[in-house]
């Protein structure tokens, strides 16, 4: 079975748990979570997730800064990032996209459809390590 690795970055432990369960509804998703931008940089470089769900407002290193740092590291530069934010104004969404985010999901989200929303943002060959069927 294909495994799609999702890295979740949010400083709220409760939200991490709810997102983890919500994403678990998709059997192909494997989720890991961390609580800060700094942890996210380390974990992303080591685990190489297929996609990163990134909170915007976090202490010390906020989402946009984390994204910029991910882009600086060649190992993580290509990983698609989705922002998860409690502040979604159309202007802000455009701003996040301009920073290079794949998309923006708003909080509160519908937990029953979160996995599907995340999936819709995955590039076609999201998981570089997943077996790819050869067609002739």
């Amino acid at each position: 079975m294909t495994v799609i690795r999702i890295l979740l970055v949010d400083d709220e432990p409760d939200i991490r748990e709810v997102v983890d369960v919500s994403l678990g509804l998709d059997p192909e998703f494997k989720t890991r979570a961390c609580a800060s931008g700094a942890d996210a940089l380390a974990m992303a470089a080591e685990w190489l997730p297929s996609l990163i769900l990134l909170d915007v407002m976090m202490p010390l290193m906020d989402g946009p800064t984390t994204l910029a740092n991910l882009r600086k590291n060649p190992r993580t530069a290509h990983i698609p990032v989705l922002f998860l934010t409690a502040r979604t104004q159309s202007g802000e969404i455009a701003h996040y996209i301009s920073l290079g985010a794949q998309g923006v999901l708003s909080k509160p989200f519908d937990p029953m459809t979160l996995a599907a929303s995340v999936r819709s943002h995955l590039p076609v060959w999201a998981d570089h390590h997943a077996p790819v069927e050869q067609t002739t």
Binding site: E12, I15, V18, M57, A86, S90, P108, P111
Partner: protein, 622 residues
Amino acid sequence: MSTKLIKAILLVEDNPADARLLREMFNEQGPHNTELTHVDCMSAAEKHLSERAVDMVLLDPGLPDAQGLGAIRRARAAAPRVPLVVLTGFDDETLAEQALQEGAQDYLIKGQIDARGILRALRYATERKRLERLKDEFVSTVSHELRTPLTSISGSLGLLTGNAAGILPDPMARLLAIAHTNSQRLVRLVNDILDIEKMEAGRVVFNFRRTDVRSVVEQAIDANRGFAEGYGVRIRLEDACAAAVDVRADPDRLLQVVTNLLSNAIKFSPANNEVVVAIERGTDMVRLTVRDRGSGIPVDFKPLIFEKFAQADAKDARQKGGTGLGLSIVKQIVDRLSGEVGFADALGGGTIFHVHLPCWDHVASLAIDRDSKPDSVRLLLCEDDLDTALTLREQLRQNGFATDFAYSAGDAFTCAAATQYRAILVDIHLPDGDGISLIVRLRELPQYRDTSIIVISADPNRGREDLRSSKLNVLDWLNKPVDFDRLMRLLLKPVVRANRRPRILHVDEDDIVARALNDIADVVTVNSIEAAQRALKASDFDLAVLDVALANGASLDLLPELRDSKGNVIPVVVFSAQGASLMDVADEQAALAKSHASIDSLVATVRDRLASRPESVSGATA
């Protein structure tokens, strides 16, 4: 309590004696460095408020051009966030009361104004300003701090009621469903409050585009189907018009309008009934209706229906799960969409709400001004608000201008490339980008390098600094609502009317300055007094730029000779290449750029001089 936040006061008073008296009292009581500006009529007050930051307005509502409640309303409209203190007559308690209802901060009774009254007014105004600031912070905090726990709560409940953690036994399922529904209601309430606040503060940017009403309506119906089923109500789309109907709208905001109207209709429908949505195309507009079979709107509630937190029956509303903000949001959005919303009793019972929106084709057909006189001077107005655009076009037409509209930065660029406009008015907020980037792109077109550009903005602060520091050569910055007299004064300036590149005579030994000036004018550089004299005989110039160091200061001898072929004085900017010596040129025609080192400031001075040059300056002669 400190009154330091009040730095600028506007006094609107037509009686000079009263004005003098008040000024004296404020000078005694007010905080130091408070600046009091006095105007004697409402139009001057409106102009001042559109141009300057004011911390408090003192208004005598008996003015030559505005009286009583009308004056108070106009002052409030011109500066909704600025504390207003009304000066009333001795026996005018009614007006004082009305003033407070209209949002005035306080009132002072003329003839009884004393130090304590003044101090009180200042303190109240300070407090009001502090509260406005707090409110802004509060709203942005609410957005994040309320939504974060709500995310965990509604997320957990959503997972449980969705059986993501296993099938729930019946009583538990029901109780959790109640908790889930109510957490979602809380989310809606938070969103609605934030929406209303942002819209009232004019902070919502509308992304106008060609929008298919039918698909938006279908989307709203799909999203509300589950909600309707909960009430035992069906939604039916009755489509009198088979073809797609495109309007000019922001699809997200239009979806919000339809959703709010639908959820309202569903909540007030009896079970086993249907809510009917219809779309009809008129000549210039689309009519969207939502009909319910509820008990109708009580007569005494009808005037209040679009008010905030208005609910016909508070108990009823709690049962229905509404926030009391839905229709108020609908009204605010439809107004911004240049549409109209209303309601009527439906035949056979219930209520029918209608929304009229301008058709895309109609709005597009308005873009080119075809009704102005053939010899009109043609302008381009980049403005996404249709009502504002139409009003300005009408006023401009009466003054001999034809005004084409561009509703987006993209449109503006296309229009400008296709037609040579004499001047361009740019709203700083455009749906597909900010006005400043548009100006940057326009300036890259050779034919628009020098065209007059005027910026219009609803937000007096945003972007202004960017513009000031950039070298985009913007003629002026006008706040909304646009002061038309000021706009006309700008448009009548020769820079706008002449539509040719200004010519500069540059007298200097090297051409460093000339290269910088080339961006804004045609420059003729000469390196001697004699050559300058020859150039002056050969053609006319709009401005001369002199290096005082040339020929040991003898270049100043040229000053009396700086006249065009009609004998008009040519303005001159003098600068010193040494940078150290600041020449004090007494001649009033000369403006002095401080040092050669700062070519930017020299260019800025030259630009200002060119913008204010008198109309008599003529074109080049052979």
